[in-house]
């Protein structure tokens, strides 16, 4: 599957408090999370972001708390994928588990600028700028590809615990 979208750029070490501050974690309602997504990094972001937009960020994206509300907020706000040189490990797991595409691609993360429209081929991890320049993201290990193909961890686990359902 290929996705194309407009890029919002963020710096290094974007933490989960910036993605969704804890003051909104008294509810996991997706509309609530989307309405406050990234607001401590950019107060206008929830108003500006459009469905299908992409985030390109610096290293260690999603550091801090284990709150799955962080990738849920980004997904609910319409973010279709995130490119960064590296992701904090709990955020990485959470994004895979809930089906939010993330790509580790240091050179692309550096080169791509805010406002560009880029295309990501989720099958092979190829990231392409409008001028045709392309970058190869780090491939997912095979087990993770199975998880993604199954539709996330819950669908994968449901199959495992109820093989005949």
């Amino acid at each position: 599957m290929k996705i194309s979208g407009r890029v919002w750029k963020f710096g290094a070490n974007i933490d989960t408090d910036a993605i969704i501050p804890a003051r909104y974690l008294n509810s996991a309602d997706l509309a609530n999370l989307a309405a406050h997504c990234m607001e401590d990094a950019d107060p206008e972001f929830p108003k500006k972001v459009q469905v299908g937009d992409l985030i390109v960020a610096g290293p260690n994206f999603g550091c801090g708390s284990s709150r799955e509300h962080a990738p849920l907020a980004l997904k609910a706000a319409g973010i279709a994928g995130i490119i960064a040189p590296s992701f904090a490990r709990i955020f990485y797991r959470n994004a895979i588990n809930i089906g939010l595409p993330i790509l580790e691609a240091p050179v692309a993360a550096e080169a791509i600028q805010e406002g560009e429209t880029i295309t990501i081929d989720l099958e092979n991890g190829l990231i392409t700028q409008a001028n045709g320049t392309s970058y190869q993201a780090k491939p997912f290990p095979q087990f993770m590809q199975q998880l993604i193909a199954a539709g996330g961890l819950i669908a994968y686990t449901r199959e495992k615990v109820n093989p005949h359902a």
Binding site: N26, E68, R89, F143, V161, A165
Partner: protein
């Protein structure tokens, strides 16, 4: 090839003799943990799995600690979801206001975690139990949901970085300072996807409370886990508490480390992490003088008895500065009670501190101590990200409880040395 301590624990829980760094393995877990923020999402996902039981009602633990005592109606609904789930699935270990504590203070105290265990928790500071020689790591709600049903989790076998600490600590230096200094050295992603294995003769001298503090903050360097060798102090702590048999693992002498750092404690003074990253550390001599509005002593990082004891030793016979609000959060009901019996609570209240029931409270900007625009807090907590304790334009400085208590007296970031205090003995 020799294995690190973490690799050995993972191999044992995957039924393997040998594992390789980078290998993805399926592990049996000893315990799964959730709290009042993460478990509600996990419970929703759990119900989609179509199972009618948790894998083991003795090994699923839900602790409401973040927004309790319920701070508003929505938080009350989330805490109630935990209660209803615990009742429905007949969970053995049930905790609520009055019997609870901050999860990472509570579980070791009750012996629900022991050496060699593999624990996952939907809370990033689950890595705290590495102080006991356990492998424990934070996961998200969906991982918790799957683990509550299957008793299993997939993990990538991590490489390890070895941190070796030598020498005698300077006055007022505790585990908090060693871990802040370490994070300041390697950065907030310095141990990303890796284990932090702590060792050296200075580690052997550290109290269990200081070890919990260090393992707790491994996540602030991006680590998967932080882990300590099991020694006589660990076993003394576990004895009489452990609710299950436990196993002691040691790293192989030929274990391979991705990197090694050696620190001489003679060069490490008490540390302060400036806004807005835990790695933004300075020694107290370069940090003293910053004006503050609030001091917080508590959290899963520094809300244990030793932490309250040192704060009381400094506040004994002194007053909290009139421009400072000093908030104390004992980690568990038991810690609160022990501190009460020791006279610590009386000393703190007499000095002008406010003492709360156990809760995460202001650490994550939840409740009970939120900062206004432009306010600054010195806290013994673990994170100082933008907006962490309240308004996005407020600031958090991280330090140990001794620095926190002295700063509360002087109304600015300060060392107890400024109060002409010699270090008090905390030997238990």
């Amino acid at each position: 090839m020799g294995l690190t301590m973490t690799q050995k624990i993972l191999a044992a829980h995957a039924g393997k003799d040998q594992v390789e760094p980078g290998e993805l393995i399926n592990c049996q877990i000893d315990l799964a943990l959730g709290n009042d923020i993460t478990a509600p999402v996990a419970i929703e996902e759990f119900t989609k799995l179509g199972v009618d039981a948790v894998f083991d009602p003795d090994r699923v633990v839900l602790v409401p600690d973040h927004f309790v005592p319920n701070k508003d109606i929505k938080s009350a609904e989330q805490a109630k979801q935990l209660r209803d789930f615990a009742r429905k699935y007949r969970l053995t270990n049930r905790f609520d206001v009055g019997t609870m504590g901050i999860e990472h203070c509570l579980l070791p105290e009750l012996g629900l975690v022991g050496p060699g265990d593999l624990v996952i928790g939907a809370d990033s500071h689950t890595c705290t139990y590495g102080a006991l020689g356990a492998f424990s790591t934070g996961v998200g709600s969906t991982d918790l949901a799957a683990a509550m049903a299957t008793g299993e989790v997939w993990l990538k076998v991590p490489e390890a970085i070895r941190f070796i600490y030598h020498g005698q600590p300077q006055p007022w230096v505790s585990g908090k300072d060693l871990i802040l200094y370490t994070i300041g050295t390697i950065g907030v992603d310095g141990a990303l996807y890796q284990s932090m294995e702590f060792s050296g003769e200075a580690i052997a001298q550290l109290s269990m409370d200081s070890r919990f503090t260090m393992a707790n903050m491994a996540i602030e360097a991006g680590a998967k886990n932080g882990i300590f060798p099991v020694d006589a102090k660990t076993l003394a702590y576990v004895q009489g508490r452990a609710q299950r048999p436990y196993t002691t693992y040691t790293a192989d002498p030929d274990a391979k480390y991705a990197a090694e750092y050696e620190f001489d404690l003679a060069t490490i003074e008490p540390q302060v992490a400036f806004p807005h990253l835990p790695s933004n550390t300075k020694g107290i001599s370069a940090a003293a003088g910053v004006s503050i509005d609030q001091v917080v002593i508590g959290s899963c990082t520094n809300g244990r008895l030793e932490d309250l004891r040192i704060a009381a030793a400094i506040l004994q016979g002194r007053r909290v500065h009139p421009e400072i609000r000093l908030l104390i959060f004992p980690g568990t009901q038991q810690i609160y009670l022990d501190a009460l019996k020791e006279g610590i609570i009386e000393t703190l209240i007499t000095a002008g501190a406010a003492v709360s029931t156990p809760t995460c409270g202001p650490c994550l900007g939840g409740h009970s101590g939120i900062l206004a625009k432009g306010e600054k807090a010195l806290a013994t907590t673990n994170r100082n990200f933008v907006g962490r304790m309240g308004h996005p334009e407020s600031e958090v400085y991280l330090a140990n409880p001794a620095i926190a208590a002295a700063s509360a007296v002087l109304g600015r970031i300060a060392s107890p040395a400024e109060l002409n205090l010699k270090e008090v003995s905390l030997a238990q």
